[in-house]
């Protein structure tokens, strides 16, 4: 069984939009201000495509506003937003590609990304590129966003016990790749 098949149907995000928004426009503007950049960073690094991250981030927020949100509060809302983004990313990976990402011109991804030349990226990019999309996703959620295994399970739809094992393997592979590139502990 493919790992994507383990993710339950994206029922919440595909449900019909509700009649009333979950928050008013001012509340949304504040929430957007706080959440849009971290969500974009996650989508961009998990997908490796800044343009795709733009599209998915916008769609994530639109679906977020139309959906029935489980729970309340900033943390739950942000987690739910990441879940929508993850599901959209997952849908994108499942769709047949019109053009492989490798064939896209480099400037598509680089134009918006001023961080291209940072030291960290010079080591991280090749290592991230060698990981499977799911591993990039899990590592980012665990180590960049500091989500717990339970929260990652909620976002990705995988089982908590699977998260632990998958993260262990992804971490081991990532550490190996980073050490090969000379990216030791700072």
């Amino acid at each position: 069984m493919n790992w994507e098949d383990a993710i339950p149907s994206i029922a919440a995000e595909r449900a019909e939009p509700r009649a009333e928004p979950v928050m008013n426009s001012d509340e949304f503007a504040e929430f957007y201000q706080r959440s849009s950049r971290p969500l974009w960073a996650y989508l961009a690094r998990a997908s490796g495509d800044a343009t795709l991250a733009d599209d998915l981030m916008q769609e994530s927020f639109v679906r977020f506003l139309c959906a029935d949100m489980p729970g309340d509060g900033e943390i739950a809302r942000r987690r739910y937003l990441f879940r929508i983004g993850s599901n959209l990313l997952h849908d994108h990976w499942r769709r047949p590609r019109v053009m492989p990402i490798d064939e896209l011109p480099e400037e598509c991804a680089a134009a918006r990304d001023a961080s291209r030349q940072s030291d960290s990226r010079l080591m991280l990019d090749p290592a991230m590129a060698k990981l499977r999309p799911r591993d990039r996703q899990l590592l980012w959620l665990a180590h960049a966003e500091h989500y717990s295994h339970r929260e990652i399970a909620e976002i990705t739809g995988l089982a908590v016990t699977s998260i632990r094992l998958l993260l262990f393997r992804a971490r081991r592979q990532m550490a190996h790749l980073l050490e090969q590139k000379g990216g030791g502990l700072r």
């Binding site: 928004p21 960073a41 940072s118 550490a175 990216g183 030791g184």
Partner: protein, 159 residues
């Protein structure tokens, strides 16, 4: 190295979350990280990914929130309209089914006459004598109803 991790992991994660590695970190934790393969690995990845996150967050250029707010409102309106049209479509389907059922029922009820008409053994005069004007009325009703349904469906599908 165990996949379940190290007992010091939570403390190490807390230090990382607070941004205290390595300067604000207790010396014994630093020593532990240097000697523990699991913690060293986790620290290595976390420091790289957090540096990467800071750069990516700073480099993001999200569109205006009001644009997304407007798009969500438009989608909600569109969905509300679609939902409002559902009972009408259901009524149309129900009417069509009832009409077909009535025709099938009528044919079954008058099966001998219909068979006779099919074999050419029944003249129109005989048929009228047996069935009256019912077939003519039924045919006109059927054509009118189906015509109305087709017209409505055509209008609905036009952009």
């Amino acid at each position: 190295m165990s996949w379940s991790g190290c007992v010091e992991r939570e403390e190490m994660r807390a230090v990382l979350r607070r941004g205290q590695w390595p300067a604000g970190c207790p010396a014994e934790l630093v020593r532990h990280v240097e000697s523990c393969a699991a913690c060293r690995q986790e620290m290595l990845i976390s420091t790289h990914l957090q540096a990467e996150r800071s750069v990516a967050v700073a480099g993001a250029a999200p569109v205006s929130s009001s644009l997304l707010w407007w798009r969500a409102q438009a989608r909600r309106r569109e969905t509300a309209l679609r939902q409002a049209g559902r009972p009408l479509a259901a009524a149309q389907v129900f009417a069509l089914v009832m009409m077909v059922a009535a025709i099938v029922g009528w044919i079954a009820w008058n099966w001998p006459a219909v068979i006779g008409l099919g074999r050419g053994g029944l003249s129109l005069g005989q048929m009228e004598a047996q069935l009256g004007v019912v077939p003519v009325v039924a045919a006109v009703a059927l054509v009118s109803t189906l015509g109305g349904v087709v017209a409505l469906l055509t209008i609905e599908r036009q952009p």
